[in-house]
């Protein structure tokens, strides 16, 4: 029995991970000097393909898998306690400075105070001139309830392995001005509206 085309398409969208052309991610990777050591902070969960990609460089990866702590960060209203929580989640301060920060779509899930605190904590750990890459929900008013699970392909397109996850929530739709206010230690190096309605950003420390 044939099923309605719409239903088949909807199920296919749930089954097949979405690939995303992310030209700024690509340019970011292509700008890495292969002869130089880099330190990369991945705010997301450890992923095979991400490790394989950066394994091609002289790289140290710091993986903090912060998604599970988003709600705790958003719930903390006391600035000092919020700062302490951020410190406990990020790599120890004073270590080798970061050159690149992979934020994926996690920035959308932080309330403004948490976003400000997290990025301030990251700024303390980054080298001046370091880059941060992020995907901001812009056109849509809703977004998935949980952060995506993005991994890079060989051609630097990104795949969200969590596509089709249940539930959704309101998207903060952070504007560039919002981001500048919440991330005063970073400037917007480049921004680009992607086909899926997200804005891809490269921030420079």
């Amino acid at each position: 029995m044939l099923e309605p085309l719409g239903a088949a398409t909807a199920r296919a969208e749930l089954d097949v991970p979405a690939t995303l052309h992310a030209p700024l991610f690509r340019s970011c990777i292509e700008s890495i000097d292969e002869s130089r050591r880099i330190v990369v902070l991945d705010l997301g969960a450890a992923q095979t393909r991400t490790i394989e990609l950066f394994g091609g460089f002289r790289c140290r990866m710091e993986i903090v898998d912060i998604a599970d702590s988003v709600e705790a960060l958003n719930a903390e209203r006391e600035p000092a306690a919020l700062g302490s929580l951020v410190e406990s989640l990020l790599p120890k301060a004073g270590g080798e400075p970061l050159d690149l920060v992979l934020c994926w779509d996690l920035l959308n899930y932080f309330a403004r105070p948490a976003l400000t605190a997290v990025m301030a904590g990251i700024a303390k750990r980054t080298r001046r001139g370091a880059l941060a890459h992020g995907l901001i929900v812009y056109l849509e008013s809703r977004m998935p309830a949980r952060p995506g699970c993005y991994v890079p392909l060989e051609d630097y397109r990104l795949v969200n392995l969590n596509r089709g996850a249940r539930g959704d929530r309101a998207a903060p739709r952070y504007s560039p001005e919002d981001l500048k206010r919440c991330m005063p230690d970073f400037s917007i190096e480049r921004g680009r509206l992607l086909a899926n309605g997200m804005q891809e950003f490269l921030f420079r420390r």
């Binding site: 970011c28 700008s31 890495i32 000097d33 130089r36 050591r37 880099i38 969960a45 450890a46 992923q47 095979t48 490790i51 950066f54 394994g55 460089f57 002289r58 790289c59 140290r60 990866m61 710091e62 993986i63 903090v64 898998d65 790599p91 120890k92 270590g95 080798e96 050159d99 690149l100 080298r127 001046r128 001139g129 370091a130 880059l131 812009y138 392995l161 504007s175 560039p176 001005e177 400037s187 917007i188 190096e189 480049r190 921004g191 680009r192 509206l193 804005q199 420079r204």
Partner: protein
Amino acid sequence: MFKKEEMPRSQGSLSRNAAEPDSAPESRSDTSGSREGAIIGRSIHITGDLLGEEDLRIEGDVSGTIQLKNNSLTIGKEGKIKADIYAKAITVDGLTEGDIYGAERVTIRKNARVLGNITAPRVSLEDGARFKGSIEMDPQAVEAALGKPQTAAKPMPAPGMGTAPLASKPAVVSNVKS
């Protein structure tokens, strides 16, 4: 990076569940003649420094340090380790908390939960594994760290560090809607 509990260093102190004597560390050879190595069963709890010169599989609890510099170590699904680990090849399928040094490779299986830093020339992580910590993949830093595993907890910075390795480009904001 992560807080570690104080680890006793009494070498060789071994506690075992008397109700399960068959789970004691043992060395095995199968009938085909291939060498399987020793196994620490799941009822075994070891606190201290574990050193060896044969392949080892751990299904029990070990706290302290584990050194099998010329051999392979497998942390099985039941294994729970709070230790810094040094081995030629390391496969983790259980829980580990501590730094992991693999002279050849480190493999993190999908069921693994790893908290700590990994230093190895080749690191593979199966999707589904949970990992928090750092992975040192810079060959020079790996070589420096594994050359002196007891003292090189922090890999040496590579020469020439101090300036940004990511090319600085003019700030261009395109297609940004505000």
